[in-house]
Each structure stands twice: as structure tokens, then as C-alpha cells.
């Protein structure tokens, strides 16, 4: 079993970083001409949602986290962009193969499967790494929710 127990770092950037990224993406969205037409609300919703996730991934540290990388890759695939990530050692996939073969029988691995479906990029992680990424993901998600809540509260009519 590889790797010692380095202290797990789950510090997330401050709220303003998230706010910044999200507002940037929103302003970029608004520049698009098709955005402001009032009929296609569903498209707008989807775009805003995607912008939210992408900005969250960027704010949370770009490509230094597995789930953020997976998110960015997913988003880039839709827009046919090419995304470059710095190469890392490929130890992760080997570990994943090992645990996958052995563990689906266990009770815990079924739960882990559900978690994997939720967290982006979860299919490529071993269970311990998955839990670490989930913790970070939860923190970032809650931060993003706070930012969006503030925006909506500020902009909605009273």
C-alpha cells in the first residue's frame, strides 16, 4: 500500500476568489449575443450552471485536484476545446485497478460507488483518495453555493 500519511490539506481559497471567478464567467456569458433572449431560459440555466462549475473548478486550484481536472475536461469536451494538463505519475490507475477487483463485494465499496458517481472524476480514484477529494469538493461546493446565494439575494427585487 503506497504513500505515508502526509497531513491532509483541505484548505480552500477564500470566498472572494470564488466570487471573482464566477463573476468573470458570468460577464463572459453576457457578452454572448444569444444569451439575453428571454425565451430560451433552459439554455441559459444550463450555461450558468456550467459556468458555475467551471469557475468553481478554477477557483479551487485549477488542475491540481483530480475532481477539478475532471470537471474542466468535461466542460472542455462539450465546447471542443483542447485542455492541457501537466502530466503526473500514473500510479493512481494501478491502485484503482487493484482495489476495484477486490472490493465490490464489501459493503463499503457499494457506498463508495455511489460517491464515485457523484464526485466528478471519481471513477479514477482509490477509496482513500476519493474520500479526500470528496472533502475538498464539499468545501468548494459550499463556498460556491454561498457566493451564488449572495448574488441572487443581492440582485433579486425586494
Amino acid at each position: 500500500m503506497a504513500s505515508a500519511d502526509k497531513p491532509i490539506n483541505t484548505d480552500v481559497p477564500e470566498k472572494d476568489v470564488f466570487a471573482l471567478h464566477f463573476l468573470q464567467s458570468l460577464s463572459n456569458l453576457r457578452r454572448q449575443n444569444t444569451f439575453n433572449s428571454p425565451e430560451k431560459t433552459n439554455d441559459r440555466v444550463k450555461k450558468i450552471k456550467k459556468a458555475a462549475y467551471v469557475s468553481m473548478a478554477r477557483a479551487a486550484g485549477g488542475t491540481s485536484r483530480l475532481w477539478s481536472r475532471a470537471l474542466l475536461r468535461r466542460a472542455a469536451k462539450e465546447t471542443n476545446k483542447v485542455v492541457r494538463f501537466s502530466r503526473r505519475k500514473k500510479r493512481v490507475t494501478w491502485l484503482r485497478r487493484r482495489s476495484n477487483r477486490r472490493d465490490p463485494v464489501e459493503e463499503e465499496e457499494k457506498e463508495a460507488e455511489r460517491l464515485r458517481n457523484l464526485v466528478p472524476g471519481g471513477g479514477a480514484m482509490e477509496t482513500s483518495k476519493l474520500i479526500e477529494e470528496t472533502a475538498y469538493y464539499i468545501k468548494c461546493l459550499s463556498m460556491q453555493v454561498k457566493v451564488m446565494q449572495c448574488l441572487v439575494d443581492g440582485l433579486s427585487p425586494k
Partner: protein, 348 residues
């Protein structure tokens, strides 16, 4: 396994030189060692074994095969140069080092160490019980360099279980595997050790998660905690979706305001103009509060070309939070409003 069978046949051939005795002793433990070295999940049999210490196994096999050339099983290995006696002894000693690392309780250890006593790797065996980290690293690094990186499961150092150590000593950055001390009264099988180490890691991280998710402290048992966590993640994602829908509905008004801001931005930045547009922004109750703060902030704004985001951010948030202590929303919004037009200016 073929290997043990082959060894047995050859050693029974009665070829009279010293290597055979070494091989024999190796075989006594060797069959077991090799059997245990192959993990049950990777049971590819002979070839899996050969993967592990490729050069050594092949050399050994071939060295004994050259003595009795009538063994058909080894022809496929090809003809290798027959190693000199000393080299062979060294290699045999290394095998015994592997063996000592894995099974310290077996009588094999003593048997093998005695036969290979004449070999220069003696010091390695002697320092084994001393358990100094550097020596472990040296011995283990050797093997690692030789045998490739696939020995994660096998290279656990198991010290005798009578040592009541509760910590597991782990080599962190240099080697890709873990040296674990077995606790008292627990099985020292390498697989259960790996399992236990893994469990501990997972449990440690679960504790982290439990602190994060509200209401998870009370729950006992990992399955329920995981359920809670999954629910939490799902609720957060749903919240994001809801908020994005609300934002989309609010959006047209943002556009309007932004357009006006943009128009004013084109002219000049530090004006009453900006203040005027700030008034036009559809933020109901906050505008009254924050009018003064807008003023203040504009007076203190650095020229836009040199505007460092980070530099401005901190004072903005800080001041706002001093003013509106209980009102996070306001602070965020005011700061955001300030950010946004300047941002746009930069993009222009």
C-alpha cells in the same frame, strides 16, 4: 508449482557442487517463499513469479539447468551466461534477505542464513534485526531497483508480533511501500497488513469528512456516515442548480445594469457618474447603506491599469466586514459590484 517441482528434481540429481546446497536450502523455504510471493489475485502462476525477480529467478533456474541439461522446461528461457559462483551466492543471499523480510518466524530463516554466511551480503542480514531505517532502505532499495515497482504488496517488513508497537513506521517519500509493525496478537500476513493499513487511512479521512458534514458526529458506523455524506453532496449540487435557475431568471436585470455601467465606464472611471449608476442599480436596501462606502472606495481606488486584484480585494472585504458585521450578503454584493465594473474596464 513448477518451480518447486523443478528444484526438487534437480537437487535430487546429486550434482556435487556448492551451489546446489544453497539452492536446496533456498528450496526448502524457497517453494513456500515463492508461493507466498505470488499474490492470490495475480495468480498467473509461474509467469507471475517470474515477473517479480526476473533476472534473479531466471539466473538461478538457468544456473541449475546448465548442470543438468536434460530439463525441457527451461529451454524456453534461452541460454544465459552461467554466473560465477560468487555472484550466484550473492543472489541467493539476496533471496534469503527477501525471505527474512517476509517470514521471520519460520525456521527457514536460520537455515538460509547459515548457508549463506560466507557471502558479502551478510551484513545485510545482520542488520535486519537491528531495524535501522537506513539499512532497511539500503536492502530494500536494492531489491526495488532490481525488481521493478510491482512489489507493493510483498515488501512489507513484518517484525515479530511480540513487539507492542502501536505506530506503523512508514517510509514516506523515498519508497513506494510501507513498513508496518504488526500489533500484538494480530495476524502478520502481508495481505491483512495491507488491508489494515488501508483501513486506517480510510478511517482517518472519514473522520475528516465527518467534521465537515453537519450532523455526522453523532452517527456511528461508516455506512450511515457515508449515506449522510452522499446526501449532503447531492443537496449541495441541487442547491447549485436551483441558484443557477434563479440567477438566470434575474439575469436580464443584471444586463441592464451592466450595460449602463459599461456605458459610463467608457467615459471615465472616477466620477460622480459611477455614483449615479450605482444608484440605478437595483439593489434595494443596500444602496442607502453603501453609498458612503462607494464614495470612500472610489477616492481610494488606484488607477485601473495597475489595479491588482488581490491587492484591492483584501481591503474591500476587510472594510466591508467591519461595517456590516452581521450581513455577509451586503459585503459580498458591494464588493462584487466594485469588482465587476473595474473588471470590465480591464477587459475593454
Amino acid at each position: 508449482m513448477d518451480l518447486s517441482g523443478g528444484f526438487g528434481a534437480r537437487s535430487g540429481g546429486g550434482v556435487p557442487f556448492r551451489e546446489v546446497t544453497a539452492l536446496e536450502s533456498l528450496h526448502l523455504g524457497g517453494g513456500d517463499e515463492f508461493r507466498r510471493m505470488v499474490p492470490p489475485e495475480n495468480a498467473g502462476g509461474f509467469t507471475a513469479l517470474l515477473e517479480l525477480p526476473p533476472t534473479q529467478a531466471v539466473e538461478l533456474l538457468h544456473s541449475s539447468s546448465s548442470s543438468s541439461p536434460s530439463q525441457p522446461t527451461l529451454h524456453s528461457l534461452g541460454t544465459l551466461a552461467f554466473p560465477s559462483n560468487s555472484v550466484l551466492m550473492e543472489r541467493a543471499a539476496r533471496f534469503s534477505v527477501i525471505a527474512t523480510e517476509q517470514h521471520n518466524q519460520n525456521g527457514n530463516v536460520s537455515g538460509e542464513t547459515t548457508t549463506t554466511s560466507s557471502v558479502p551480503s551478510n551484513e545485510r542480514i545482520k542488520t535486519e534485526p537491528a531495524e535501522t531505517e537506513t539499512c532497511d532502505q539500503a536492502a530494500v532499495e536494492e531489491q526495488n531497483n532490481r525488481c521493478g515497482g510491482k512489489r507493493k504488496d510483498f515488501d512489507k517488513k513484518v517484525k515479530s508480533s511480540t513487539k507492542k508497537k502501536n505506530k506503523s513506521s512508514e517510509e514516506s517519500e523515498k519508497l513506494p511501500y510501507v513498513h508496518v509493525r504488526a500489533r500484538r496478537g494480530q495476524a502478520t500476513d502481508s495481505h491483512s497488513l495491507a488491508e489494515r493499513a488501508r483501513r486506517e487511512k480510510i478511517n482517518a479521512r472519514m473522520k475528516l469528512l465527518q467534521e465537515l458534514v453537519p450532523g455526522c458526529d453523532k452517527i456511528q458506523g461508516t455506512a450511515l456516515v457515508l449515506d449522510e455524506i452522499i446526501n449532503h453532496v447531492q443537496s449541495l449540487q441541487r442547491q447549485v442548480e436551483m441558484l443557477s435557475m434563479r440567477l438566470a431568471s434575474v439575469n436580464p436585470r443584471i444586463d441592464f445594469n451592466l450595460d449602463t455601467i459599461l456605458a459610463s465606464e467608457n467615459g471615465s472611471l472616477m466620477d460622480g457618474n459611477f455614483n449615479g449608476t450605482a444608484m440605478q442599480l437595483a439593489w434595494p436596501h443596500q444602496v442607502m447603506e453603501t453609498e458612503q462606502s462607494y464614495h470612500h472606495r472610489q477616492l481610494q481606488q488606484p488607477p485601473p491599469q495597475q489595479w491588482p486584484f488581490d491587492g484591492l480585494n483584501q481591503p474591500v472585504w476587510g472594510r466591508e466586514e467591519d461595517q456590516d458585521l452581521g450581513n455577509d450578503h451586503n459585503s459580498l454584493m458591494v464588493g462584487a459590484a466594485n469588482l465587476h465594473p473595474n473588471q470590465v474596464k480591464m477587459e475593454l
